[in-house]
Symmetry: D2
Subunit: 426 residues, 4 copies
Amino acid sequence: MDLINTPEFQRLRRIKQLGVASYVFQGAEHTRFTHCLGVYEITRQMCDNFEINYPSVKAGDGLWDDNERLVALCAALLHDLGHGPYSHTFEHIFGTDHEAITREIITNPSTNVYRVLAQVDSDFPAKVASVIDHTYPNPQVVQMISSQIDADRMDYLLRDAYNTGTKYGLFDLTRILRVMRPYAGGIAFEANGMHAVEDYIVSRFQMYQQVYFHPVSRGMEVVLTHLLTRAKELYEDNQLLDPYRPELLIPFFEQEFNLQDYLKLDDGVLNTYFLYWQDYPDPLLQDFANRFLNRKPLKSITFMPATRRLLPRMRQLVADAGFDPAYYTAENDSFDLPYDQYDPSSANPKTQIEIMQPDGTLEELSTLSALVAAITGKSTGDTRFYFPKAMLGTPTDDLFAPIYAEFQAHILNGSLIPQNLEELDQ
Amino acid sequence: MDLINTPEFQRLRRIKQLGVASYVFQGAEHTRFTHCLGVYEITRQMCDNFEINYPSVKAGDGLWDDNERLVALCAALLHDLGHGPYSHTFEHIFGTDHEAITREIITNPSTNVYRVLAQVDSDFPAKVASVIDHTYPNPQVVQMISSQIDADRMDYLLRDAYNTGTKYGLFDLTRILRVMRPYAGGIAFEANGMHAVEDYIVSRFQMYQQVYFHPVSRGMEVVLTHLLTRAKELYEDNQLLDPYRPELLIPFFEQEFNLQDYLKLDDGVLNTYFLYWQDYPDPLLQDFANRFLNRKPLKSITFMPATRRLLPRMRQLVADAGFDPAYYTAENDSFDLPYDQYDPSSANPKTQIEIMQPDGTLEELSTLSALVAAITGKSTGDTRFYFPKAMLGTPTDDLFAPIYAEFQAHILNGSLIPQNLEELDQ
Amino acid sequence: MDLINTPEFQRLRRIKQLGVASYVFQGAEHTRFTHCLGVYEITRQMCDNFEINYPSVKAGDGLWDDNERLVALCAALLHDLGHGPYSHTFEHIFGTDHEAITREIITNPSTNVYRVLAQVDSDFPAKVASVIDHTYPNPQVVQMISSQIDADRMDYLLRDAYNTGTKYGLFDLTRILRVMRPYAGGIAFEANGMHAVEDYIVSRFQMYQQVYFHPVSRGMEVVLTHLLTRAKELYEDNQLLDPYRPELLIPFFEQEFNLQDYLKLDDGVLNTYFLYWQDYPDPLLQDFANRFLNRKPLKSITFMPATRRLLPRMRQLVADAGFDPAYYTAENDSFDLPYDQYDPSSANPKTQIEIMQPDGTLEELSTLSALVAAITGKSTGDTRFYFPKAMLGTPTDDLFAPIYAEFQAHILNGSLIPQNLEELDQ
Amino acid sequence: MDLINTPEFQRLRRIKQLGVASYVFQGAEHTRFTHCLGVYEITRQMCDNFEINYPSVKAGDGLWDDNERLVALCAALLHDLGHGPYSHTFEHIFGTDHEAITREIITNPSTNVYRVLAQVDSDFPAKVASVIDHTYPNPQVVQMISSQIDADRMDYLLRDAYNTGTKYGLFDLTRILRVMRPYAGGIAFEANGMHAVEDYIVSRFQMYQQVYFHPVSRGMEVVLTHLLTRAKELYEDNQLLDPYRPELLIPFFEQEFNLQDYLKLDDGVLNTYFLYWQDYPDPLLQDFANRFLNRKPLKSITFMPATRRLLPRMRQLVADAGFDPAYYTAENDSFDLPYDQYDPSSANPKTQIEIMQPDGTLEELSTLSALVAAITGKSTGDTRFYFPKAMLGTPTDDLFAPIYAEFQAHILNGSLIPQNLEELDQ
């Protein structure tokens, strides 16, 4: 495939799929490149299955039209093209949008990807982009790439499970593929495969709880955010001159970047600047560069709405111990719904998973599965307060001993607790 | 191990672990012999872990006393010794009790197993039996072999998953073993292993739903029940003479069996009689022997309390089609609780699963896990009506056409339904 | 598939794939039934692959004609239909031939299998039999089922490896299937898949050495042989009357059996007679029945041509210790060629494995693979002398002490050795 | 472990284990960091096994002294500390030696690693280095880390197999660990585990042939070599000024680097310079940077001693087609001995693998294993000629058509061939 050989696609080899989570799950060193190839392969298997078992006979019969194969495969391969290094954090700070950039790479005539796609037809790049956009008219193609149970999610769950070594993320892909079938409204699942689909939902729930929302990787994310924030501040203050000047990041610091600027970035480029900054004469930049490269995350405890009122005091204690709380503390929450029923009144309706009964009627998954019903619509996640590990040190009889002691007295089994009832009454 | 070489233990090689379920999951051909070896091996790993990491220093410290190893290992190896061929069905018809027989084999001085155990100490057989009995004083040893998350359950879930080829039953045994720890009240799990325990509970839930309660294997169980019932009737009627006489079953038909009689039975012995009976001049015995050996189960549909009132009519239709409903229909339900909290007021309290917090306190699993809480105390299962496959035949214009048509009109998507509202109003 | 539901095919559920080897590799409890389904599935994948990638355009083009699919699948499913209980040993004693019986079951109008096949066409049963016979005109179909790298061998190697838990037998089936391709002379392999084929040959070599030729399972085979031999002798001597009379074996003792007699036999039937015989008042029959059911094999040592002359003395010592050497000793060898080049002058030429070069020419595997060349034509195996375990007992100061001592002095590291140079010179 | 948290060790997270091979086996994105953790873990299991089963009772008894555990574990963890980015190629060009650098990092008082080790004892760093050096007096410890079958090789074979997805590299680690045992001369293997060891040797043979010596990854190595060579030439010519100046590489270009310079390098740093160089106004540097980042390897064919004389003509044709042969062609060979017997007269004797017989004597592996004997001392590998892909282009009727045609006429099935007999006679 010529698309794989484009520089825009090869760039994905240099961007880790799980970003900072590779600091926690040390085997998770796989990249977006292999993920994209995997999504392509799963989509190919879907197309093969549909073509052999459900070929369309005449237009509008709700079966599979194999002329859609090429657009489906290209969309599968390219759907993550716009991801940059440490995507989540980077977007947060620099206001980039990887989905918009994906569309831009596909439809901008200056890219190699565009040129390869346009060989099919001058409209083809726009078509591929519209699949990723969910505006493509054939819902079967759209749902292959993007729905609650699509090639993208199935690949990343299995791949992340394989590479993190967890067994939670495993489910029976072969069986799910075998029970998928096209219908006029998209893709449904045969009733005898319901348990495999159910197992996928549970696996996804578990991967979110245990891998994607892991407190330590969120602690590394805090470090990265504060590191890039500090660098931007210094740059805006006309510091960070050669050889510490991050040439390729400057368009982003200045908020005037173009596609070419974006395509130069990868994990290695950012890490290389961080390596330089470890020697830069600003203690904050130096410390956070060191923390990021050498895996020294901020520590955390959970807190509840009722204990949130204790946070200012905790922050003050961090300050008293000599750490600037603007950099050395943070709040962070993580929530995700494992599987939602379709709700037309919701702002961002998710496609529901439909199980096809022997008589051809469709039933939404959670009406059939006790297990899925039990977790449908349940939000899971927690809110955490981050702070330096030093706060957990043994309070020896030095100056900081009472500070540490008070800080630690507010922690029990990893949670923030009041030290006495009055604290809650305040 | 001399115990493995006893005839009582070798007999388990000839008894399939899953009984009739091997007719549905064709790879499930493994026996109770390999399961028992597996339980032994898991128990051994538990002991090793406890001995290395939590060795008792002085009596009563709640840690592991390695003098308990031998009794634990023997109980693990022997816990299923009393199982017979097609245990569940056999017990139902002949009133045997595999747990009582297990104790009998262990403690009856006539057995080889007793002789091997008694070499340790004359009290030792009784000790081993008391572990299986739950009356042994050390709760750690009892819980290794028998609790909601014990060596027995962990082995059979993984082994059955491996041999049925399902992915649902997989969980991370290595991790669970690593986070187990003894305490004064039994065995607890460290907080950082909670997700592995949670995954085990979900796997167990899924295996029950999808393997152990599979409608077709229950259909084979119905066939076996009716086959043995018919044989007993004929025997009591002084039929089944040579060469059809089931020599080794007669003590059970007459309800005067001893341990030696029981130990002669295995799957092959029963199947051999069934082979003979295929030629016996009683159409019912012949047909059910043929159905069992050649996998021709009764079919089934689910019914609800509200539709139960339709069953007499369905049975009548089966009779009208020429099948004796006493043999050719059946009702069957399956219910199990995936994980219950301990409830001291319940008749049969189950051990609860305790998670140990960093400060040493114990929390019951479902208070910590959203997933487990969601399924705790939920009963899962269904009630089914069984009947001959012929009832689903195409109603050609023969005599039975209207019978078949009426029967089939009461079925939609595998469930019994009223044909009209009046049927429910009756 | 109606074929699977025939009694002749369901019988395979009651015959273990590895026979006595399940006594050594305790997980090896799988049956010929699952193996046959596996061969069917692999053949189906071969057909799918050929149909998608190499469909014949016109007769004689050497590509795949999908009209061959049905005959290939039926031959795959039925190729082992004639196997009986403990096939190898049974054939040796009773002179049956499982291949001839397979053909008989397929082509004899009295069987259910024949009736199902004949529904396709009255010639169809003969066609299917001719594939198994290697006389079918299309070599592609024949080689799918029977060649050095066919669906049969690939399934049993992987299945036996899965169930014995060995890692030696694993190879990359998916890759091999992907590089197979039809040509006029049969089936070849693309050059870029050569390493996968090579790995298959090595796996096969290792499985033979470590599983199929295991000394202990050969020791159980010796026990079974002597057990059946003794039973035959007693029967011929008008003993073994009711209830010890082995009704279903008698046609074989009398060498006047028909197909129906054969189809009644399975592992359970034989084991059931053995259970009865454990109580029969003939010490040899009793002992060998007990040895077989309760896994008490004869022990063994290897010997070489040079040490064969010591065997009479060893046998004499066994006799002196009170064991009838006709029953309690045996010689047994095992030899197999892991992969042979095709040699037209050999009595039983094996199909060679052809690798297709980029320019379309074929090269025989061992000319390309250093690893295969290294093992091609090498025979592997050993010759063993079997004897009772008692001979290895500690020579206490009883009567037999000097006998045991002399016996054991001839054994070093599992091999028969001369006690002094003169023994070799004799 | 404090060692893992040192910057020197965390740096290994940024260096891929397989270097350029990740361009061929796209899943091979794992790093030296995870490999080192794996070697640590395997060594820990070896120590546990030895301590439980073979604890030394008195000095000199040839059994395991658990006081050696710490030095063994540290050596295991740190054995690859000196690896840099794309080690093999980098060493070749800049004359670095990763083994010497490993020792330097461990024993140089300026490093964090040294500081952590020296907390044990001031001699401890030197001790750890001597294990890696093979000069440590206890051969058991040395052989754990470095021998023909050590923790290092076992980890990388399995890890590389897992990540490349090949099945060739799999062997039974658990079994090998179980049959290892210490003796006075080092580590031996029990006779009943011989087949597992044999399988390891074959796996290793196959991984070398199929992964480590893959022609395409050698083609990427050629690209990298020529890229760095060109950069060095330009630098020496006072080019490559800001922003193209490779600050962190300059000490290596100038051959005056210290340990701190070396520890700044990683894959990302090199790739970042390559990204810059893609825009540098030197066509060779630009093209090779682009080829490396975007995976455009040189192509290759094999040649034999007899056809080597054709290479000058092939190089001339490459030149005629417009490519500088100094950059666009290369020769490359790969040879490795899968397993050598110990030969005291050889320059670099390898430890042989010893199998311990029941009577305690040792036998060298290849005397017992037909499979290993077959491949012992066999060198495997090939010699290849590399050239631009364009040379394989379709010879259209342009200027270069006759050049391409002549070039391609010398290639058959991936090998260099004479066009006529005279070419060999020349």
